[in-house]
Amino acid sequence: MTDKKTIYLDNSATTQVHPEIKDTILPYLEDLYGNPSSIHAKGQEVKKTIDNARKQVADLIGAKETEIIFTGSGTEANNLALKGIASKNKNKGNHIITTRIEHKSILNSARWLETEGFKVTYLNVDENGTVDINQLKEEIRPETILVSVMFANNEMGTIQPIKEIGEFLKGKGIYFHTDAVQAAGKIKINLKELNIDLLTLSGHKIHGPKGIGALYIRKGTEIDPMIHGGGQEKNIRSGTENVPGIVGLGKAAEIANKNLESNIEHLTNLGKKLEKGIFKEIPDLILNGHPDNRIPGNVNISFKYVEGESIMLMLDCEGICVSTGSACTSKSLKPSYVLDAMGKEIVFMHGSIRFSIGTFNTEEEIDTVIKTLPTIIKKLRALSPIYNKD
């Protein structure tokens, strides 16, 4: 058990469940246990809440409630988007375009589709992590059926030109999917103003519960299911509905929507404060990602001459939780493939730390981090054979 003083700055990996959401979920672990497919009263009372949650999620992104499908995670929603579109539209073409910096759930779905005979183009990004829209335009072929570009990157937060891509694709008969897992709740997303056919969300990244995701599927989109069974979720995702998860995600979306502006301001302020503080106290740093066009609260820094895991664990010993690369790859030995795609020198890729701020972080916490970090970096640099400055 961690004690009360933990400073959690790993909100891109997962977030604390909002207390209001816990209260929303609770009755569904108690008396409201019915199966929404049941016609009797116990089932129907639950069915209504699911439809309500669908509306709450739809409202966050400016969609219609009938266009939301619940899944077991953001990962599953991404798999469903790629594989479901590919499977249903393979008669139209076998080419898919995505980027080198997508989340593994996109990249590994794309690689799997390659083994099934699809051709995939992985777009490059510039040194700020922004996708090359000109390359996208060049790579479009008659066989292209799907473009998938994430709304904002999970490692260094760079926001992608989603509006421009959508406009470019308009009328071309190519589906456009975006993984908005990291963007939701931190950027205003209004599908009425964006030409997007599919969009992925995940509960636990917006202070909702784990184990629930959603895929927005624009009306009329031709998509195959990935999980077959009893026909739930309009036959696109079978399986008894994760009712507690669904109502939790619904509530999380509602809160995120309601507090969007104040949350953006809060995250922006703390993020700027942290970034400035660290740069003031510590020399030899690189800020990874776009200097401005990034999700608020994401600060990704390479500490030259030292290795990321060591920094992370030293901070952990002080009760400060951060991440090296993305949470999913924290375990792996390889340096961040996202920084790699951005063309960073390899020795600095190993030293990157992602601070990701959430709704519940405070100014005092940021002050503590700024105070704690210099000693740790000094200590590790003193240990480093490639640091020759003292």
């Binding site: 290795e307 030995l333 390899i346």
Partner: protein, 123 residues
């Protein structure tokens, strides 16, 4: 993820630094795999009189570096050469499988430093 011994050696590493007029120097690793280790030794009467390390790397790399200097200090070169990566890992109550290579690196570094000393002596 790590044993307490690993964390202890990571947080408070022994023998860190660099011996200025070292008798033997061993540098191993490369930035791609994320670990670079430099071991310097002082030898007297075929014994490792002093040993220091510098390491760029993860907690396991730092802890194994620290541990191997502890194990080697005071030993004859012969004995030091026989320190296996298993010895290092065992002294740390084990390493996560994904980090096993770090103990490799540590014993490699020590060996290189000893070889370097022997080479220099021959000259």
């Amino acid at each position: 993820m790590y044993s307490e011994k690993v964390m202890e050696n990571f947080k408070h590493p022994k023998n860190q630094g660099e011996i200025k007029d070292a008798d033997g120097i061993g540098e191993v690793g490369n930035p791609v795999c994320g670990d670079i280790m430099k071991i310097t030794i002082k030898v007297k009467d075929d014994k490792i009189e002093d040993i220091k390390f510098k390491t760029f790397g993860c907690a396991a790399a730092i802890a194994t570096s620290s541990m191997i200097t502890e194990l080697a200090k005071g030993k004859t070169l012969e004995e030091a050469k026989n320190i296996t990566r298993k010895d290092v890992s065992d002294s740390l109550d084990g390493l996560p499988p994904i980090k096993e290579h770090c103990s490799n690196l540590a014993s490699e570094g020590l060996n290189k430093a000893i070889d370097d000393y022997k080479m220099k002596k021959k000259e």
